[in-house]
C-alpha cells in the first residue's frame, strides 16, 4: 500500500470485484471455447467410447481418425468445398464491383438525380417484396438451379454500400478536383484515386461479403436443385440437421456405421469451420473496424 499513497485507496469491495471480474471473464471464455473444444475432442474419439461417455468431455475417449478419413474420402465434401470457394471468390468480386460503383455514384455531390436514387436504394432496407415474390423473380429470370442465383440477386448489401459511400464521401474533394482539372474521367478518378484511398474500407467489405458467402445456405437451399452445385453449408445441413431428424424416426442399418456417423458429424463441423477458425485471429481487427465504421453512420 505504501507505493499507492498518491492514488486513491482501493477498497476491499473493489478488489473483490476485480478478482471476480477476472475470474468471470475466464469462465466466459471457457463457455465460448468449450463447444469447439468438445467438437474437436468428440471428432477424434472412438465412436463407441464416445457414445458410452456421460457428461462433459475433457479428453478424447480413445483415439480414432476414422471420422476424418471418411469425411475426407467423401466426394460430396470436396464438391461442397469447391463450390463454396467458387461462390466466395466470384460472389465477393461481384459484390465489391457493384457496391463500389453504387457507392461512388451516390457519394458524388451536386447531381440532380442522386437524391432520388439514394432514396430508391435506402428504401429497400426498410421494405421488400419478401421471400416469395423475390423467389419468383429469380426463377422468372431463369436463374433457378443456376450458380448465378447465389451471386447476382444479393450483389449489393445496402448496409455495406452505405459504409462504402461514407468512406468515399470522406475523401477530400481536392483530390478529385485536381484530377478532374487534369482531364481525368470519372472512371479514372474512381480507379486511380477513390479505390486506392478507400482500400481499408474495401478490405473490410471483402471480409464481410466473403464470410457471408462462406456461411450462406438459405438461398442455395431454395434456388439449387442439383447437389453438384451445393455449397458446403448445404451439405453440412443435410448431415447435421436433416439426418438428425430421420435418426429420430428410424433405426440405422448397422450399429458400427451408426456410431461412426456420430463422430462424422463432429468431424464435418471441424472440416467446414477450420478455414474461418484459422483466418479469424489475423482478421479480427478488420472485422471490428467494420463495426466502428458502420456504427458511425448507422
Amino acid at each position: 500500500m505504501a507505493q499507492n499513497k498518491n492514488k486513491i485507496k482501493i477498497s476491499p469491495a473493489e478488489r473483490a470485484f476485480d478478482i471476480f471480474n477476472v475470474l468471470f471473464m475466464f469462465f466466459l471464455c471457457i463457455i465460448m471455447i468449450y463447444p469447439f473444444f468438445y467438437v474437436v475432442v468428440a471428432s477424434i474419439s472412438e465412436p463407441a467410447k464416445l457414445m458410452a461417455h456421460d457428461g462433459l468431455l475433457l479428453a478424447p475417449q480413445g483415439l480414432s481418425g476414422g471420422a476424418y478419413s471418411s469425411v475426407l474420402k467423401n466426394p460430396r465434401v470436396w464438391t461442397g468445398y469447391g463450390n463454396t470457394i467458387f461462390y466466395v471468390i466470384v460472389g465477393t468480386t461481384f459484390n465489391i464491383i457493384m457496391t463500389v460503383l453504387c457507392a461512388y455514384g451516390l457519394s458524388r455531390k451536386g447531381l440532380m438525380f442522386n437524391r432520388i436514387v439514394t432514396i430508391m436504394v435506402v428504401f429497400t432496407m426498410y421494405f421488400s417484396g419478401g421471400m416469395v415474390p423475390s423467389f419468383l423473380v429469380v426463377r422468372g429470370l431463369g436463374l433457378y438451379n443456376s450458380r448465378l442465383a447465389l451471386i447476382i440477386p444479393g450483389a449489393i448489401s445496402t448496409f455495406n454500400m452505405i459504409i462504402m459511400r461514407t468512406a468515399m464521401a470522406g475523401v477530400p474533394d481536392s483530390l478529385e478536383e485536381s484530377a478532374r482539372l487534369e482531364g481525368a474521367s470519372h472512371l479514372q478518378v474512381l480507379f486511380k484515386i477513390m479505390i486506392p484511398v478507400t482500400m481499408p474500407t474495401i478490405a473490410v467489405l471483402i471480409l464481410y461479403y466473403g464470410v457471408g458467402h462462406w456461411n450462406s445456405w438459405f438461398s442455395a437451399s431454395i434456388y439449387l436443385k442439383d447437389p453438384s452445385k451445393y455449397p458446403l453449408q448445404l451439405y453440412l445441413r443435410q448431415i447435421l440437421i436433416q439426418s438428425q431428424m430421420s435418426d429420430m424416426n428410424q433405426a440405422s442399418a448397422s450399429e458400427d456405421q451408426a456410431l461412426l456417423a456420430e463422430t462424422i458429424k463432429y468431424a464435418t463441423i471441424i472440416v467446414a469451420t477450420v478455414p474461418i477458425l484459422v483466418l479469424y485471429p489475423f482478421l479480427q481487427k478488420y472485422f471490428v473496424k467494420g463495426v466502428m465504421v458502420g456504427s458511425l453512420k448507422g
Partner: protein, 326 residues
C-alpha cells in the same frame, strides 16, 4: 427544402449574364450532360435494384390474386380476389400462433439478449490488464463467425437425449430428453444460443462508446473522492446511455422480424406450436407447399407492420436523440 426556397435560389442565386433556362427539363438535360459518366456508372446499380428489389415489390400483387405459375400477374388473365388471403390468414388458427411465437421469441431475445453485451462491455472496460481484456475480446467475438448451420448443428448434437448439455443438466435433475422435441424449451434454446453467439460481437459498439469517455471526468471524480463504483454509476453509464437508447430503439423496430434461417434449422413438426414464426410460416407455405398467393399475403402483412414499426421508432429516435435512420 421547400419549393419557395428552390425558386429563390434559381432566380436570385445565379448571377450569370445570360438568362439561363431554369425549367426542370432544361436543368435536367444540363445535369445529365455534365454528369453523364456518373449516371452511366449508376446504371447497373439502378437496374440491379429495379430487378431484385422493386420487381418483387410489384410481385406483391399476387397477394391479392389467386396466382399460380403460368397465370398472368397483371392485365388480362390475372385473377384478382381482393383481401381473400388476408382474411383467410387472420381467421386461421395459424395467425395467432405465428404472431404469438414471433413476439415471444423476439421479446425474450430483447429482454435477455439486449442487456448482455452492455454488461459484458462494462466488465471488459473494468479489466485492469489491457492484454487480458484483448485476449477475452478475441475469444468472445469468435462465435459470431460460426455459420448458422454449424451453430444449429451443434445445438442439435448437444441437446438431444444423449447430448452433452442434456447430460450435464441431467446431473441437476433435468429429465433425459431430446430438448428440441420439447416445445417449452425452444425459446430458451433459441435465446441462449443467440446470446452465446452474439454477446461478444454486440459489445463492440458499447466498447467503442466507452473508449470515447473523457478520462478527465474520472480524474476529477477521484479527486472528489468517488470510488470506482460511483464512477461507473455517475460517469460511465451516463456516457453510453445515448448508444444504449439508439440500439434499443432500433431493436424495438425489429420486434416482428424474426429471421427464418435459425428457426428452420432448429424446429421440427413436434414443436411448431411454439417455434413457428411468421417468416418460417411464409417459407413453408410458399416455397415448400407452393401456396404462392397466400404466403405472399402473409409476408406482405409482416413487411407492412415492420415498415410501420421502423417508421414510428425512427420518429421517436429522432425526437429523443437527434439520431435518425434517415
Amino acid at each position: 427544402m421547400s419549393a419557395s426556397s428552390l425558386q429563390n435560389g434559381g432566380n436570385s442565386g445565379s448571377p450569370s449574364p445570360k438568362v439561363r433556362d431554369t425549367s426542370f427539363k432544361a436543368r435536367a438535360i444540363r445535369d445529365l450532360k455534365r454528369n453523364y459518366e456518373i449516371y452511366l456508372i449508376l446504371v447497373p446499380v439502378i437496374v440491379f435494384y429495379l430487378i431484385f428489389s422493386y420487381a418483387p415489390m410489384g410481385g406483391l400483387a399476387i397477394a391479392f390474386q389467386d396466382w399460380r405459375p403460368g397465370r398472368a400477374m397483371f392485365g388480362e388473365g390475372a385473377r384478382w380476389v381482393g383481401l381473400k388471403h388476408f382474411k383467410d390468414f387472420f381467421g386461421s388458427y395459424y395467425f395467432v400462433r405465428v404472431l404469438r411465437n414471433t413476439v415471444t421469441i423476439s421479446v425474450s431475445s430483447l429482454a435477455f439478449g439486449f442487456p448482455a453485451p452492455i454488461i459484458l462491455a462494462l466488465m471488459l472496460n473494468e479489466l485492469k490488464s489491457k492484454y487480458y481484456a484483448r485476449a477475452v475480446q478475441t475469444v468472445v467475438y469468435l462465435p459470431h463467425f460460426i455459420s448458422m448451420v454449424v451453430l444449429c448443428g451443434m445445438i442439435n448434437l448437444f441437446v438431444r437425449d444423449n447430448g452433452v448439455i442434456t447430460q450435464v443438466l441431467g446431473f441437476f435433475g433435468f429429465p433425459k430428453q431430446n430438448m428440441l422435441l420439447n416445445p417449452d424449451l425452444f425459446v430458451p434454446i433459441y435465446v441462449i444460443s443467440g446470446i452465446w453467439s452474439g454477446v461478444g460481437w454486440g459489445s463492440i459498439i458499447y466498447l467503442a462508446a466507452l473508449s470515447g469517455v473523457d478520462q478527465q471526468l474520472y480524474e476529477a471524480a477521484e479527486i472528489d473522492g468517488a470510488g470506482k463504483w460511483m464512477q461507473t454509476i455517475h460517469i460511465t453509464l451516463p456516457c453510453i446511455v445515448p448508444t444504449i437508447i439508439i440500439q434499443f430503439i432500433m431493436r424495438t423496430g425489429q420486434i416482428l422480424s424474426v429471421g427464418q434461417e435459425k428457426i428452420i434449422l432448429l424446429y421440427n413438426e413436434t414443436i411448431y406450436d411454439k417455434a413457428d414464426v411468421i417468416s418460417s410460416f411464409v417459407y413453408r407455405k410458399g416455397l415448400l407447399e407452393s401456396n404462392w398467393s397466400y404466403s405472399t399475403a402473409v409476408g406482405l402483412f409482416n413487411s407492412v407492420i415492420n415498415f410501420a414499426l421502423v417508421t414510428v421508432v425512427n420518429k421517436i429516435s429522432s425526437t429523443v436523440s437527434e439520431t435518425s435512420l434517415w
